[in-house]
């Protein structure tokens, strides 16, 4: 009779299931309860921030699958978000199709675009891939501005609210549970993809592409697949963005947005789904803290009075990338992991 320790598994299923211990289940319940109660007890501004975090999380998970897991860098992620946003907006405006058609369509069109971009990128890595994806991003930016018939050009485009059986999701509070549910579904799927056969193939390509091929991974197929899945997430994020903001404009999908997504996955943790969430939430919430910091430092240094503007955020993101790459390349996820292991082993130090 074996002695049962804290986590004792008797089958391989128990070893790979999602909620493995009672404590993980416990904290998951607490987390869900907190999210469910937030709109009733929290500030409406928190609700807005959670909504923004959901949008950022979906796109960041997509980029993490491509860059963090497969090791293919992309500086054009915003382009796929734009493709998704304008697809959903056009379908809703011109065909009047419901959201449950528009959102998957936004993802699929972006996925097709991603696969097409992925094919010429098959032989490229690192710097060259960054250049190609960035160029694609700039091209899409240009098309969005000039193709007025499809995008409304610089005037932008209005989007009707999501309507579920006559109930219009027209405010942040009404969108809140919808966005959380969609984000949770997509996170669940991404987590399953990355921890099983397909995800292992991605990581194998990142770690050693020659060995991956020698062991039976079809490089062409999996690189294109990674582009497609990543762009699908970006496209759905774009569709959700259109429905949340209700007005989309070319200025929303610039190179700067792509760099924000890169910041999210570097700060959160490359090659980690949980890390993508951390990074997305962090980057959404960070401007609030930067504003707070600017206001309080203005009290000490009067010369800074009234100097705070959006540009501070961009500078801060740059600084964050530098600091994380030097001091914590594993991102917030590895800090989280250390804390978790510390608690798990307490009171022992190993």
């Amino acid at each position: 009779m074996p002695i049962r320790s804290k986590t004792f598994n008797e089958s391989y299923y128990e070893d790979i299931k999602l909620f493995r211990t009672i404590w993980i289940k416990f904290w998951a319940v607490i987390f869900v309860a907190a999210l469910a109660l937030l709109p009733y007890i929290g500030d409406p501004y928190f609700v807005y921030l959670v909504n923004l975090s959901c949008l950022a999380t979906v796109a960041a998970v997509g980029l993490n699958i491509l860059t963090g897991y497969t090791g293919l860098i992309s500086l054009g992620h915003a382009a796929f978000v734009a493709i998704g946003a304008y697809t959903a907006a056009n379908l809703a405006n011109h065909l009047g199709t419901p959201f449950w058609i528009n959102l998957p369509a936004a993802g699929l069109i972006a996925a097709v675009a991603g696969a097409i971009v992925g094919i010429p990128c098959l032989r490229l890595k690192g710097l060259y891939l960054a250049m190609i994806t960035m160029s694609f991003g700039v091209m899409v930016e240009y098309v969005v501005i000039t193709w007025e018939g499809l995008t409304g050009g610089v005037r932008g485009m209005s989007v009707p609210a999501i309507s579920i059986m006559g109930y219009k999701l027209s405010t942040d509070e009404r969108l809140y549970f919808f966005l959380i549910a969609i984000t949770a579904m997509l996170l669940f799927a991404a987590n399953n993809i990355t921890r099983t056969r397909v995800g292992r193939a991605f990581v194998a390509i990142r770690d050693r592409d020659i060995a991956a091929e020698a062991i039976g991974v079809n490089l062409t197929y999996y690189k294109v697949l990674s582009f497609a899945i990543s762009s699908f997430y970006a496209g759905v994020a774009g569709g959700l963005y259109a429905y949340t903001m209700r007005h989309i404009h070319p200025d929303h999908f610039t190179l700067l947005l792509s760099i924000q997504y890169i910041t999210m996955i570097i700060v959160g943790g490359m090659g980690s789904i949980v890390g993508s969430i951390f990074g997305a939430v962090f980057i959404v919430v960070a401007p609030e803290f930067i504003k707070l910091f600017a206001q309080s430092s203005a009290r000490v240094f009067p010369v800074l009075e009234g100097r705070y503007d959006e540009e501070w955020n961009i500078a801060a993101f740059g600084l964050l990338i530098i600091l994380f790459l030097i001091f914590e390349p594993g991102g917030l996820y590895s800090i989280w992991n250390r804390i978790k292991i510390g608690f798990k082993n307490w009171p022992f130090t190993y």
């Binding site: 089958s11 391989y12 299923y13 070893d15 790979i16 799927a189 991404a190 399953n192 993809i193 099983t196 056969r197 397909v198 995800g199 292992r200 193939a201 990581v203 194998a204 770690d207 050693r208 020659i210 060995a211 991956a212 091929e213 020698a214 062991i215 039976g216 991974v217 079809n218 490089l219 697949l225 899945i229 090659g271």
Partner: protein, 257 residues
């Protein structure tokens, strides 16, 4: 016994350099066949031709009666040819289990959609292959490392994990590129024991490049010698050992005064 692999008149040129010149080789079913030769003789090039990383300039590679010349590496694996590398080529950030599960990759079927749901078939498949991987982990005696990232493991263990990953593909022929390179005496003995077990218990044919002559002479059934891309000898270990051309290739020619 018939040949499982035959290499017929393979020539491989890179620009003006001839890496392999008209090389022929037969590996018999169930045999442990060693491929030896001085540095730069073309041993690894021949491995790369067999596993499909290089396309030969001329010649054919026949595996189980089927022409596999110019087939891509991921196709030759699914036909049953697995290999290890001279310099370990593991997936450093993944655990031992995940590395071995990648060996099962081409035997698994789950695509992105069934993986995303992870119910029913995809889940059962994952568990079934996990069970097979655990058998290989037992066989190679690396149980205690199974959940560690391989990048942090000792060299000798990494070599063993790489062998395990090749075994996980359910191969009919194993190509081992210097399995005992850089190992101390105990590690070399362990590795030799595993190679013999693979041949005798699992019945897998092995083609092995090895510089450690002690190992080659002790465990090989047959030896082929390459020198500057040309086959200079082929036969049982003791025959090859006394072949004057082999001695000359290894020790150099006495200069004529």
């Amino acid at each position: 016994m018939s040949a499982i692999l035959s290499v017929e008149n393979v020539t491989l040129r890179f620009g003006g350099i001839t890496a392999l010149a008209d090389v022929g080789l037969e590996v018999k079913r169930g045999d442990l066949h060693a491929l030896i030769g001085p540095n730069g003789a073309g041993k690894t090039s021949l491995f790369n031709v067999i596993s499909g990383i290089y396309a030969p300039t001329r010649g054919e590679v026949i595996f189980e009666g089927q022409r596999i010349t110019r087939k891509k590496p991921h196709v030759t694996v699914s036909l049953g040819i697995a290999r290890t590398f001279q310099n370990i080529e593991l997936f450093r950030h993944m655990t031992v289990i995940d590395n071995l599960l990648l060996g099962r990759h081409q035997l698994m079927r789950a695509g992105p959609f069934s993986a995303a749901l992870f119910l029913g078939r995809a889940l059962r498949e994952e568990i079934a292959h996990r069970a097979r991987v655990e058998e290989i982990i037992d066989f190679l005696e690396i149980e205690r490392y199974r959940k560690q990232p391989v990048g942090a493991l000792p060299y000798g263990i990494q070599k063993r994990v790489e062998l395990g990953r090749a075994l996980a593909t359910d191969p009919k022929l194993l190509l081992l590129d210097e399995p005992a390179a850089g190992m101390n005496v105990e590690e070399t003995e362990d590795m030799a024991r595993f190679i013999i077990d693979i041949k005798e218990e699992l019945g897998i044919a092995i083609l092995m490049v090895e510089h450690d002559m002690g190992v080659v002479m002790d465990i090989a059934d047959r030896v082929t010698v390459l020198d500057f891309g040309v086959k200079i000898a082929d036969g049982a270990p003791n025959e090859v050992q006394s072949n004057p051309r082999v001695i000359q290739a290894y020790l150099g020619e006495e200069e004529q005064m």
